[in-house]
Amino acid sequence: MAGMTIVQKILARATGRPSVEVGEVVEPTVDLAMSHENAALVINQFLDVFKGTGLEPKVWDPSRIAIIFDHRVPAESSKTATNQKKVREFVGQHGIQRFHDIRGDEGGICHQVLVEYGYSRPGMVIVGTDSHTTTHGAMGALAFGIGATEMAGVWSLGSVFNVEVPATIKVVVNGTLPAGVLAKDLVLFIVGKLTAEGANFKVIEFHGDTIRRMPVSGRLVLCNMSVEAGATSGIVPCDEETLRYLRDEAGVRDPIDAVAPDADAAYDRVLEIDASSLAPQVACPHTVDNVKPVGDVAGTVVHQVVIGSCTNGRLDDLEVAASIVKGRKLARGVRMIVFPASWRIYQAALKRGVLTDLVEAGAVIMNPGCGCCLGIHQGALGDGEVALSTTNRNFKGRMGNPKSEVYLCSPAVAAASALTGVITDPRS
């Protein structure tokens, strides 16, 4: 019998069994359940579960629930503000400690905050009412998005009811990424190869020496965008870098379950990539798998450049952008909007002068949040406008206007293009 992939091992542990088979349906216990503003809908559905039962609504384990406000911060409407107020009240009533409100000392985008605070750990089953929950696979966890009603079930009973044990695509990346080519270029290339549904109902496991040398910040980019190939989760098995991050940066002192796949695990498919041959990549409108080398679209006029989000708003991303625009000016007709992924990152970038370099070049620094990426507020596009963005989706209408276009790229391509006003290869 073949060994187990990492997702099989995690689901076996979470179902109290020695092993699980690909394709069988299991009900794993949940180690961490994350929501953002849509906790308002989760609360509504959760209370509905208890209606007519004569039982007092009580969450299964408040210590395993995390709620982070990030999608509409500060509130863009009275409706949102009222929903946020309801969530705050619920959090207080149920004793949920891992609540990150709209605050400069501990707030940020959920997928960054969970990692920074050491909530996301190897071997865990993490569910979130957000499709980019896949991000937390970078910490060696199985992490996947679910709907609000599903989350109401988790809050009630502490498990996800029907999870088909996913098959796994093994992506092996070897070689050194050339100068000017970043983790974002690698994952765009992978999504282009796999297509938007190539990993639907499957997990992507990342391996190879490129991944081993890649810091957690880059691994988060890979796992964040795994869902753009349809993946249930992207997972980088726990290694020395994971442990270094957890101990040194997230301040985790508890024992860590460094679960790894078996050497003889059976994979659905293996994709091998030579990192040294990659050029910067751009995902063109209106699908994330419409990926081309930057040279193919160089010269395309852009009106708005967005740097940041849960995909590329980390300190190294902001530093790359700042190093390119420092001492120079953005092209006329281009606006550059920057969203650090968390307030911790914001503060670090502030102290290091990174934000000053960006602002002096003409960029506008926003508070950490998701609003622009999904067209809620803080950066909608006009009719016929083109955005070049380090975010994760370019679907029609994504940035608030179906009559606009969104291209996706790395922070290096974004910053280089902001200087010229057209899509530009940062290596030139």
Binding site: F50, T53, D130, I146, T149, N162, A380, F395
Partner: protein
């Protein structure tokens, strides 16, 4: 006989089904007004021209992208049936949880206006006379649909846990 009221291609994202700018609206009773908000189809839905039980036919990966449950609840509000060659994982899960009827039928050929009958094991296009087999849902997911959706299912389980069922 239900008719195909909309035919769409591959990779229809949740941003197209329910644009992000309306996500502050969360309650299933309020989301239907924004179904396919950027398409002419939205007008047809809102003006009551689409009878309950009508059918949307899609290709692969319908509902890709966000986990927003509004994308399922807004279609459930009109009691539409979605027949697709394939669905994105989270959208399919949300649909089963909310009772939105989703049918996986990889070989169906149909055009807008066709009359279509959905049986237990196959979809029959009455206009063309062709039958296409349905790919069954996993048993555990069917159990949730049979219970009347995930809220009812969870309620049963909570009662069982407290020895009240």
């Amino acid at each position: 006989m239900p008719q195909v009221v909309l035919k769409v291609g591959d990779d229809i994202s949740t941003d197209q089904i329910y644009p992000g700018r309306f996500m502050a609206t969360v309650l299933p009773s309020e989301t239907p007004q924004f179904a396919f908000a950027d398409f002419e189809f939205n007008e047809r839905l809102k003006s009551g021209q689409v009878p309950h039980g009508s059918i949307i036919v899609a290709n692969n990966n319908f509902g890709c992208g966000s986990s927003r449950e509004q994308a399922a609840s807004c279609l459930k509000g009109y009691e539409l049936t979605i027949i697709a060659k394939g669905f994105a994982r989270i959208f399919l899960q949300n649909s089963c949880n909310l009772g939105l009827r989703t049918i996986i039928c990889p070989t169906l050929e149909a055009s807008e206006g066709d009359e279509v009958e959905v049986g237990a094991t196959e979809v029959v296009n009455k206009t063309t006379g062709k039958s296409s087999p349905i790919t069954p849902l996993p048993k555990a997911r069917q159990a949730i649909i049979d219970a009347g959706g995930l809220i009812a299912y969870t309620r049963q389980r909570v009662l069982q846990k407290h020895g009240r069922a």
